[in-house]
């Protein structure tokens, strides 16, 4: 049964996946926070959802959205998952969706590359490298 489920999972994750494009991270110092930005490009005909991102670079990695409140103040909220409809692009950009990198384990120097693993409900795992750069 376990073997069957594993095979099923492999089949699930071997098909076309959501592409993660133009990934970049803002420079920051060790112990501080930063954010990862990118485009989620779902070139498939199936809807998917991003529910987790991991990386060794930070103690905590969370999906966040920056929100503007009625009084004009800006804040953030954690998001459990983000739907990626079929044939759509979801932008993670400054002032909007971003991956929060909390308590960085080392300094993020410009032009260095950081590894991340994205987890999708349907597409499974996707590994990427994001470049550290300024806005």
């Amino acid at each position: 049964m376990m073997l069957f489920l594993s095979l099923l999972a492999m089949l699930n994750s071997s098909g076309p996946k959501v592409k993660i494009e133009n990934a970049w991270v803002r420079p920051a110092n060790k112990g501080m926070n930063s954010a990862l930005y990118f485009n989620l490009n779902n070139v498939t005909s199936k809807a998917d959802a991003l529910y987790k991102v991991t990386s060794k670079i930070a103690e905590l990695v969370q999906i966040h959205s920056t929100v503007k409140n009625d009084d004009g103040t800006m804040g953030m909220k954690e998001i459990r998952q983000i739907a990626v409809p079929a044939n759509s692009i979801i932008k993670f950009e400054p002032g909007g969706y971003h991956i929060m990198l909390i308590n960085l384990k080392r300094k993020l120097k410009t032009n260095s590359k950081i590894e991340f693993t994205f987890y999708f409900k349907t597409g499974g795992k996707v590994k990427i490298k994001a470049v550290v750069k300024k806005e």
């Binding site: 920051a28 112990g31 930063s34 954010a35 966040h64 004009g72 103040t73 800006m74 804040g75 400054p94």
Partner: protein, 217 residues
Amino acid sequence: MLKIKLFINNFALNSKRINCKVFYFPALLIIILLNLNGCGKDLPENRPAGIESVNLLNQDSTVVKFPDAFKGNILLLTFIYTNCPDICPMTTHNMQLIQEQLKKVDITNVRFAELSFDPLRDTPYILKEFGDIRNIDYHNFTFLTGDAQVIKRILNKMNILAIPGDTSKTESGKIVYFYTHTDRITLIDKGGNIRNEYRGSKTDIQQIINDIKTLGD
């Protein structure tokens, strides 16, 4: 024939006098008005910032008398915290872009200040690191921190909201909290009057530069 020539010459002279009165004076008036605009009369606000004189620390731990140290110069002031991953770095980046643009057009009477509303975590050392990793040119750009109560009074005076959210602790014991806060850059003239306010993170840089030019020397 001589009479005709004299008539034409007189007419020309009179015409010049008439032109001078009818056209040159209004033109002069327009120029005067434009000059007045050049002094910043048409900016949307003109009210004293009214910040009491206090001692703050800059990124080098040097005491800065605020806002006195900036009087006599135009000041672009914003409020940030360095643990902010998204909005505050965007605002700082915009301040930096404005600084670069002004340098290109040789406007030298502007100072940039970013005051932390999270003084417990934003020590001068942390502010310096935050600036250094962004290659901030400190010659007219200052990060400020200080006593929490003093900063609270400045925030109140400037109508800046900075509300800390829930606090959590990571496995390593680091305390994590974020602020919901006002997103603003304030333009203050050399007399200490607020002249305009802009959104900090997503702003029209050219408008700010134009307003600075309008304020003139």
